[in-house]
């Protein structure tokens, strides 16, 4: 999606002018949707009331430009979990510009109506940031009823709820009851909907996906945040790697000062329900759960503990409430959190839950629209099974992701290069050894040029350096000692003192040392990574010369 280019903080009139300009330009309508991302730089350091005015204006602009499939998710998000009268009214107003009214939209509108009816404050759509000082204009309930009327027969699924709203004594005002009657008439209206309903009922447009899953091979590595330190509800410190690697996990984000009961409070309550579902299926020990606060500066262990307890969250070694004590920004970048701040306080955020695999990588995310607990558990069980499948096929993993392929290629290249250096014939005797080994020729037939000697010594020193570096990284210096002994035998004893037998010992020791260095660390991935460091560095240099930065790799 295109990013609206902005320079520094904008004033509210500038923002309104930007929105109006985007609305007027048909080719830039998609950028209006981009402005609804919570993490957009334009919302940085704005107060919540300001953000309400800004986002409300964008929603109204979408209403003028026409809600697309991509922006529909944002509109429905506001209806699903919004509690601000202006934003809910603006979302209801915008929805009416969606070109394909669908029966699946009606429950969102009805839910918003049920939630906002006791906060039916007057709102004004006339000018940016204007507050209604007379009740003659519109209000969220009025907008929602108008939207239900716009849905007409598509809203038949919620007809009984609207009827019960009408039947309640002392509920809506007399003025609104006229709107309810009009809505009921529209819903009961035309008959042509039956056929249409069977085709489109309950299917939302493809743009409306609040769940995203990543295939095993295409998941982002969690390396950038592995060292992020968290403090849990008891005050214990634990790193991301320690808690999230080794088993799948379910992670939700929240903060204790969130004043929208349909967001953080409900999210943490749903996490507690997830824990119960896992327990019922006997999976509580195999899957970790965590609730991470957006507001670590204020949400101290005691606060998050109380918040979790009050919502029925089970807290123990595998189920924790967490606050990041450092690396908050890295965490925000890694999860691409839909959140923004004024100083350290959250000014706006979306609903978000994640399923992490056993490597701590994001396997699935559930965003914006309320997620179903069973759905999250089911996805986590898939990830858990995938873990056991992976263990079985660990012998020959085949990473399909280009990043993983590049890393594997780098490892292989490094190992082969290392062995190549080790086995490279570094002196006439080596040549002889190789040739006699392959039975190609006798020693006498090998042409030996004295100018080759410095070159071979240089190669031997490179090998020596490489083996030393590997030894330092892996903590196993035995290979280096053997290669050093080999070099000593060749250079000092053979070349310096003319002791012919020393050459054979030197070659043998060099070969043995190089082999020990290259293979002695075993098959452990960490050792293999250490082994490839000098060559991986070289590979990275090659990559960066092609324009790939290390961050891109991550």
């Amino acid at each position: 999606m295109l990013e609206v280019v902005t320079t520094g903080a904008q004033s509210e009139p500038q923002f309104a002018a930007l929105v109006d300009a985007l609305t007027a330009d048909r080719d830039r309508h998609e950028q209006l949707t981009d402005l609804l991302r919570e993490d957009h730089s334009l919302y940085d350091q704005c107060g919540t009331a300001t953000i309400v005015r800004m986002r409300g204006w964008v929603l109204l602009a979408l209403g003028r430009a026409g809600v697309s499939d991509a922006s529909l998710l944002f509109v429905l998000e506001e209806l699903d979990a919004g509690t601000d009268p202006y934003l809910v009214a603006a979302a209801a107003h915008a929805l009416r510009s969606y070109p394909r009214p669908n029966p699946a939209l009606a429950p969102f509108v009805m839910r918003a109506l049920t939630q906002i009816r006791y906060r039916d404050d007057p709102v004004s759509f006339e000018d940016y940031g204007e507050y209604a000082v007379a009740s003659a204009g519109t209000s969220p309930v009025r907008e929602l009823l108008t939207t239900l009327a716009w849905l007409g027969p598509h809203a038949r699924g919620v007809l009984s709820e609207v009827e019960s709203l009408r039947a309640q004594r002392g509920g809506l005002s007399r003025k609104l009851l006229i709107d309810v009657d009009r809505t009921l008439e529209a819903i009961r209206g035309a008959d042509q909907v039956d056929e249409f309903d069977t085709e489109t009922c309950c299917t939302l447009p493809s743009g409306l996906r609040n769940t995203i899953s990543w295939a095993f091979s295409s998941r982002r590595d969690c390396e950038p945040i592995e060292s992020t330190v968290f403090e849990d509800h008891t005050g214990e410190l634990i790193t991301f790697k320690e808690f999230f690697r080794g088993q799948p996990s379910i992670v939700v984000f929240f903060y204790t000062r969130c004043d929208n009961p349909l967001k953080c409070s409900l999210t943490v309550t749903k996490l507690a329900r997830i824990q119960k579902l896992l327990e019922a299926q006997g999976l509580a020990d195999q899957i970790h759960t965590a609730a991470i606060t957006y507001d670590p500066a204020f949400d101290l262990p005691e606060r998050i503990r109380g918040y979790g307890q009050n919502r029925g969250v089970r807290m123990n070694a595998g189920n924790r409430m967490l606050r990041a004590t450092d690396g908050v920004n890295a965490l925000r970048r890694h999860f691409r959190l839909g959140v923004n701040f004024i100083e350290s306080l959250v000014n706006r955020h979306r609903i978000e839950a994640y399923v992490l695999d056993a490597e701590g990588r994001i396997a699935a995310s559930f965003e914006r629209i309320h997620w179903d607990e069973q759905q999250v558990v089911d996805r986590t069980i898939e990830v858990l099974k995938e873990k056991s499948d992976e263990t079985m096929s660990e012998v020959s993993p085949e990473p399909a992701d280009p990043t993983a392929r590049r890393k594997t290629a780098s490892l292989m290249f490094a190992t082969l290069a290392s062995l190549g250096v080790a086995f490279f014939p570094k002196c006439p005797i080596c040549w002889a050894g190789y040739l006699s080994l392959f039975g190609i020729a006798g020693l006498n037939q090998i042409p030996f040029s004295p100018w080759l000697q410095p070159l071979l010594i240089a190669v031997m020193l490179i090998n020596l350096g490489s083996v030393w570096l590997r030894g330092r990284l892996t903590g196993r210096m035995s290979g280096f000692y053997l290669v050093s002994a080999g070099a000593f035998a060749i250079v000092v004893l053979k070349m310096g003192l003319g002791w012919e037998d020393a050459a054979a010992w030197g070659v043998a020791l060099t070969l043995a040392g190089s082999l020990v260095s290259a293979l002695g660390a075993g098959n452990r991935p960490a050792a293999m990574r250490a082994l490839s460091v000098p060559f991986a560095l070289f590979a990275r240099l090659v990559n960066s010369s092609r324009g790939d930065s290390p961050n891109d790799v991550e």
Partner: protein
Amino acid sequence: MTKKRKAAKTSTSARKPKRAAMRSTRAAMSVATSARGTVKERVAALAEVPLAVCESDKDLQAMLKVLRNKDEPVEVRLAALQSLAAAAFSVIAFESCRSDYIATLREVAEDPNPEIRQRVLGLLAREKDGFAQKKLLEGLKNPEKALVPPEKALQLLSYDVHAEAYSLARDIVSKPPNADAKREALRLLAADATSAPLFEKLLRDKDESAEIRQISASALHALKPEKLQEHAREMLLDKSEYEDIQATSLTALTQFGDDAAIADDKALLKSVDRLSVGKASSKYKQSARRFLSKYGQ
């Protein structure tokens, strides 16, 4: 008597008090909205109707008209506001009236009468109303536009932690228009995690008033409790520290301190022991003795 008759009788007897109540409400509304009644009578009548006001659209509109009408006596308008606020407290019953009520409050927020302005802005601020927050912030940025004094504006803004008032509050702390404004600004900042260093500084500043230092201690306890523990210890060891602040420090350590660390802290125990028998007031000595008894002295 048949069941039908019994039911009819019960229903009639149930309707009677309701009708009586309606008559009484109508009579009260009639007095309340009539300019012919005395102020005292009207205020008394308005106090009778709060919960019934929403049952009739006519009554509601009449009540809102009284509130809006600048020619009405202020006492009567304030009584009308009081009745409406009481009715609004019953959220479900007030549903049909809310829109008109909020619109009227916004209209009256800029009333010439300061008391009405302040009361109305208070009601809107409790609703976290964006209109009220905007007006209050504007007033703090530009005192000429202020609808209420800065200390009141800060107090009302503190009802919502998400109101963008922290930077303005910090400005007021560094350059306060009056002592009350500084105090309210600090109370507001007590929810701002980034203000912890400011509270540490104020807590240790012996030139600050005891009230400001106590607010700082309380804020620090909420934001960085471990820092308050550190400072409390140091202030108890400081012989030149004021008695009231040392009493606050003693309370902080007694109630929230790390028991094991304090019990091992010989210097601190010795210092408190000295305070418990010195020239200090009896209340302070009592706090010191409580502290010492808790930590095994």
